[in-house]
């Protein structure tokens, strides 16, 4: 175990210092955070500026102060757009709202300003319209009107409650997002194993290393090191993505109302981790058999396509998520993690199916490590040559 860990940490340290890895790992989240921060910055924007309005309907009540959360919008009424425009040009107001005379027949109001109002000002202007149209109604009526159809969905069997809106979306999106994370992890991490092994062969270092430890220890150490690397990358992306999503949502959603059922991340971990290792081990086996990096990438690409098989059958699957094809793909070790999570998003998946899928996955992983270690011994010293079928067969029979 000590040597496996030594191989893993050395692999990790060597790869994490590469420029490509650093750029991919940190560049992407920086872009995500910047993208997520834009609406937050605009909504946050500090105090609300003074604005004007022109009521061409003549039916709105005069309103000069609109409190919202931690700020107050100050408004000035103008008799016509000319007066509002003059005040705007003098810098007395940051913009002005024109409510046209046919507003109550469905025409929209128009807001004139140097730039688009942020989310906070938009919210204040909406609150102003409610107050101006219904001046005599109490505050709670106006609050209710802001969100008139709030519904909580209750599961009849379990009694579990889910509030409507973002909470429902988050609940159903979580398994899909986790399935996507699994696919990204496989494509960016596990499938790179083959190239890593080919690089090892190219550097002619294998012969010296293999006389210090067993082939299975080298395979296990490489897979573990690359997995740690992939987890680091995913972790940085998750933190970046989390901050970006948090910033983007914080201006519109109360994050505290969001909840994720515990079964989802549990099954994502139980199926995802061995699923990832299975891909990594198989990709390293393909790397051992490949003659060069290009061939290893091509073979890994085929493996990646297998992993994305659920997408090919999505048309068939979506209509029968508990049908034989869906159940079969859940049991197949290369598609099990992804299809299992996709099904969990949309239907109730029987627990026995998930447990069986996990058992098959773990058995396949153990079998693939055994198989790859055998191939490894035969092919590791074939520099620049691919393993021929008869050599592969001999290796499997011999070792």
């Amino acid at each position: 175990m000590r040597k496996i860990w030594l191989i893993a940490t050395t692999t990790y340290r060597r790869r994490i210092r590469s420029g490509t890895f650093l750029f991919l790992t940190f560049g992407l989240p920086v872009l995500m955070v910047i993208a997520g921060a834009i609406p937050f910055i605009r909504a946050w924007g500090g105090d609300l500026p003074a604005v004007g309005y022109v009521d061409q309907t003549g039916r709105l009540a005069p309103v000069t102060q609109v409190p919202i959360e931690d700020a107050t919008l100050t408004l000035s009424a103008y008799a016509d757009t000319g007066a509002a425009q003059t005040a705007f040009q003098r810098g007395e107001i940051a913009g002005y709202l024109v409510i046209p005379d046919d507003y109550f027949q469905g025409q929209p109001a128009a807001f004139y300003a140097e730039e688009e109002p942020g989310g906070k000002l938009e919210e204040a202007l909406t609150a102003f319209m409610r107050r101006a149209m219904l001046p005599d109604e109490p505050a709670w009526t106006l609050d209710r009107l802001a969100n008139p159809s709030e519904v909580t969905y209750v599961a009849r069997d379990s009694g579990e409650e889910i509030a409507e809106g973002p909470a429902v979306a988050v609940r159903f999106a979580t398994p899909l997002v986790l399935a996507l994370v699994f696919a990204i992890a496989v494509l960016t991490g596990a499938s790179q194993m083959g190239s890593a092994i080919v690089r090892e062969k190219d550097q002619r270092s294998m012969e010296m290393i293999i006389t210090s430890l067993a082939p299975r220890e080298l395979v296990a150490g490489k897979v573990l090191g690359m997995t740690l690397l992939s987890l680091t990358q995913l972790g940085v992306w998750a933190v970046g993505g989390g901050i970006a999503i948090g910033l983007a949502l914080s201006s519109a959603v109360d994050v505290q109302t969001l909840s994720i059922p515990w079964e989802t991340p549990m099954w994502a971990l139980l199926l995802g981790v061995p699923g990832y290792f299975l891909y990594a081990v198989l990709a390293s086996g393909l790397g051992v058999m490949a003659g060069d990096s290009q061939q290893a990438q091509q073979l890994a690409g085929i493996l990646g396509l297998l992993g994305l098989a659920p997408l090919w059958f999505m048309g068939l699957l979506i209509n029968a998520l508990n049908g034989p094809l869906a159940v079969g793909l859940t049991m197949f070790p290369l598609t099990g993690p992804m299809i299992g999570l996709v099904r969990m998003a949309l239907v109730e998946v029987p627990t026995w199916q998930l447990i069986t899928s996990l058992a098959i996955l773990v058995a396949s992983l153990i079998g693939s490590i055994w198989l790859v270690a055998r191939i490894f011994r035969a092919a590791m010293l074939m520099y620049g040559q691919a393993l021929r079928p008869q050599q592969l067969l001999q290796a499997l029979l011999e070792a």
């Binding site: 550097q203 294998m206 290393i209 006389t211 210090s212 008869q390």
Partner: protein, 309 residues
């Protein structure tokens, strides 16, 4: 009970790749505290034999006993191997590489560091410890590989062409390190084509060709065995063809004559004395160089094969 003096015992090992017989019923021993030469032309089966000894590939038949038993993971830490196909991780520094490889051989990190420091000073690479492997010259790389293969002070050291790419000064450094390890009791098996190095360093040799043993035993005995076949003569006159002489080479105003099998130097002397066109001034049996022995043994086989083809 006596302890075995053999660090390595190979008994009747064979290996076939698809249809090519790489090694055939090969047997030999390497003693503790000796430098043993493994010789043979390219493709003779030397690397395959080494890889079978190191358990990198399995023999089809035969037994190998390494350091008193079959190869185990624990045994691997008592073996040092400098392969012919050399390579270290190019993106790692020299010191990190040695720490990594030393720990793979069961040294603690502290011990690996101490050993790396000692050996790097000895091979004059301490100042290059923080350079990446890809920044090292060929000779530096060669010395780094040697240190990586031996810094755990193994009991059996297998080195394949240890002096390739080294200038005479660095060759001397590596040679001294090998002598010291040998004095410590380590068995050293050296595969090389540099026959003068074998003559200088090895006590016993094994010459293989086409996977089979051709010559095996103490170097002195082998040289004695081949010594009678060569004489040096100084003479007046010109020599062209001489009965009983296989090869005739003119050198330093005289001749070196390589005798045919079964021809004794005394017979040749009589032949020369009886040749009226020359006068023999000096006649001396010479020790045959290993280089000549190699060419004779391997070359003869090649010639025979060409003749029967």
């Amino acid at each position: 009970m006596t302890r075995s003096t053999h660090a390595l015992e190979v008994r009747d090992i064979s290996k076939t790749y698809t249809t090519v017989r790489a090694v055939e019923r090969l047997s030999f021993e390497v003693h503790k505290g000796e430098i043993f030469g493994l010789l043979g032309p390219n493709g003779a089966g030397k690397t395959t034999s080494i890889r079978m000894i190191l358990d990198i590939i399995k023999p089809d038949a035969g037994q190998i006993s390494v350091l008193g038993g079959t190869m185990t993971e624990a045994t691997k830490s008592r073996i040092g191997y400098l392969p012919e196909e050399r390579g270290l991780y190019e993106d790692m520094t020299l010191l990190d590489t040695l720490l990594f490889l030393g720990q793979l051989k069961d040294l603690t990190r502290q011990t690996a560091r101490a050993r790396a420091e000692t050996y790097l000073h000895e091979v004059e690479l301490w100042d290059a410890r923080d350079l990446k492997i890809k920044a090292l010259s060929r000779g530096m790389n060669q010395k780094a590989q040697f240190v990586a293969a031996t810094m755990h002070e193994p009991d059996l050291i297998i080195v394949d062409e240890p002096f390739s790419g080294l200038d005479p000064v660095n060759t001397r450094i590596i040679k001294n390190l090998l002598y010291r390890m040998c004095d410590r009791g380590a068995a050293i098996m050296m595969s090389t084509h540099q026959m003068h190095q074998v003559e200088e360093m090895c006590q016993r040799i094994l010459l293989i060709d086409h996977g089979s043993r051709v010559l095996y035993g103490p170097l002195d005995e082998i040289r004695w065995q081949f010594a009678s076949n060569a004489v040096e003569v100084d003479l007046r006159g010109e020599l062209d063809q001489v009965p009983g002489v296989e090869r005739l080479v003119s050198r330093n105003g005289g001749y070196r004559l390589l005798l045919q099998d079964g021809v004794q130097p005394e017979q040749l002397l009589k032949t020369l004395v009886n040749m009226p066109e020359i006068t023999v001034e000096r006649f001396e049996r010479v020790e045959t160089s290993l280089d000549e022995i190699f060419v004779r043994v391997v070359g003869r086989k090649v010639t025979n094969e060409e003749g029967t083809a």
